[in-house]
Symmetry: C2
Subunit: 365 residues, 2 copies
């Protein structure tokens, strides 16, 4: 079975950093081996640096980004709780769905696809529902390429409502400030701006979230994602076995985080900013129109309406087969009409933009 | 950070097959790339061969073995359902815990640690609770080294109760016959006898289980493990996106399954049988006593009481640090008193037994 070399410019996975790939084949250790536990500790410390947090409970969940989302909700919600969810794309919808499956009453704060959520409306919703257990927002909506502002939501920290933020497509791509923004619970994925293959979901819980966890009336509905049990393995001195950790994926995350921190978070953010800005500038010259609201366009994930008359499926097929370049089709309302172009992690390079625009110029000529 | 070469003779992870390691660094593809979907299809076909089933819904769940367990229960149970669970070790307990978290009333059929469950007692329990939605048994109890007989439970197929079997530590180590034993739902892990690093949970659902899934009153409480949604990605023609697949782990599973099938299932079972039999024969010569009931001792996972006066922790530390050999400590009732010695996957070699016994002879002299 062939696995061709691809330039991965879709909504993820991105091309991983070479360090993250090389680490996959290091000798497998047991999940209770002191050498592995030392590496896990260092991985957690690196995650704290990238999340910009001092939270003790900061770890990789053994599943992809959506498992990180589910881990937040199943640990923080109990049946009958109220959850406020910002919905302006597929991943806000997914949060609402996951919260409902936890038995929560979901209060939706909606915005049109392609537009950013108004933080004031979210804050107002919390005032209307002061007993809401949490307020959840997607930082970088992968379906629309929109950045939702999180900083103004720090005010939620003055209430009894927890602030939950999805940073799957923002962590290590644009600034994320877990402590600075008073985020109580936050999760991400490895296969986007972190430049690591898919398979893990970095997650961090602050003190208020840990308190909530400790004071639950009932155990979380998920055993696999029960952070009380997982916390007894990753933290503390006893290292109580919960489930077998995905060893080689953690090696890869450790190495990918090393690459990010060696370059420096500021430099990584700047690289994503620059390549995104160039794409936003040059894509319209080919007849594309940017779909996300101005001022809220993510540099690492660009949504763009196709040029008049262009055939979505045929164009993407040729891009993939002839040029080895993957871009993403639109989801939901955007299906067939817009593309999602990712410049994330090790794919966030000037040469990626050159290759894509060059190919498109030939195809659309 | 070092990752030393280890001979992994604990309860998992085992040493992976070289093919499974090499595949990890193949170029990353997108989860909707036709080349990846072809590899996923072939992986599912290989899983069917190893599970000995024709079940269409046969796939790797994006989490470790315990995620496979949870996937079975959250998809097959609804609040208020009755679940019969065989409990004679940690993993039977875990099934009972997971079923309870799904809101089920759990009927426990217990047996002492180290002894096998009596199939007749399980069948009787189903007769007493004919409306039980499922009956769940661990085939190979990793905590005790006991094999529970599954074949006699085929009779459950004549009732409305589904038969769910945990083959985490048996699949590709000892015979597993999903169709032959009329198992309705079955899951495993990659890091045991399959000889692949930890991170995925192979799972298969038969027609009766799929019908149950289709006729649920409410969606499963887990979105991440919702087999209705996952099935629309792995099967059918639309390949509807659910979550980003853990690409490189699936490469590794595909290659590990290839290694197993190239050797041949019969030959792989025989290899596990022979090395296990040798260990069972020679370990008592060093003062160990086998802990599992005779006739139900797993060849791939041996539990043994330590020789009189031996220091569990100190011995395992020296084995690891001086000889590079990992064995597992006891869980639960066995903690501090018994070991768990795995001979699984690529670790199931005569030379593994020689190395372990040689080291123990030196240490216990």
């Amino acid at each position: 079975m062939p696995q061709s070399e691809r330039l991965l410019l879709g909504p993820g996975p991105s091309n991983p950093y070479p360090e993250a790939v090389a680490a996959l084949t290091r000798p497998v250790l047991g999940h209770l081996d002191p050498e592995f536990l030392a590496l896990l500790d260092e991985t957690m410390e690196r995650l704290r640096t990238v999340f910009r947090t001092k939270n003790a409970l900061t770890l990789p969940i053994s599943g992809t980004g959506s498992a990180g989302m589910e881990a937040c909700f199943v640990n923080l919600l109990e049946p009958g709780d109220t959850a406020i969810v910002g919905v302006n794309g597929v991943f806000g919808e997914r949060m609402a769905d996951v919260a409902r499956r936890c038995g929560a009453d979901v209060v939706r704060v909606e915005e049109a696809w392609g537009r950013a959520l108004d933080p004031q409306r979210l804050i107002d919703a919390q005032r209307e529902h002061p007993h809401a257990r949490l307020l959840a927002v997607v930082h970088a909506e992968t379906s629309t390429g929109v950045e939702n502002d999180i900083a103004p939501l720090a005010a939620i920290g003055d209430t009894d409502t927890l602030l939950v933020v999805d940073t799957v497509t923002s962590l290590a791509g644009i600034p994320v400030e877990v402590d600075g923004w008073r985020v109580d619970a936050c999760y991400a994925g490895t296969q986007k701006c972190l430049g690591v293959p898919p398979g893990l979901a970095p997650l961090t819980f602050g003190e208020r979230a840990v308190d909530r966890l400790r004071n639950r009336l009932h155990p979380p509905q998920s055993w696999y994602l029960d952070l009380g049990l997982i916390g007894a393995y990753v933290g503390g001195s006893t290292r109580r076995y919960h489930h077998t950790a995905p060893i080689v994926m953690i090696y890869s995350l450790h190495a990918g985080l090393g690459a990010v921190l060696d370059e420096g978070l500021d430099a990584v953010w700047e690289r994503h900013r620059q390549v995104g800005a160039r794409l936003h500038r040059e894509l319209p010259e080919l007849g594309f129109r940017l779909a996300a609201e101005k001022g809220h366009q993510l540099p690492e994930l660009t949504t763009a309406w196709l040029p008049e008359g262009a055939d979505d499926a045929a164009l993407r097929k040729t891009l993939l087969e002839t040029y080895g370049i993957e871009v993403g089709g639109g989801l939901g309302e955007f299906a067939g009409k817009a593309w999602r172009i990712g410049l994330m992690g090790n794919s966030a390079r000037d040469r990626s933009v050159t290759a894509l625009l060059g190919a498109l110029r030939e195809l659309l000529a």
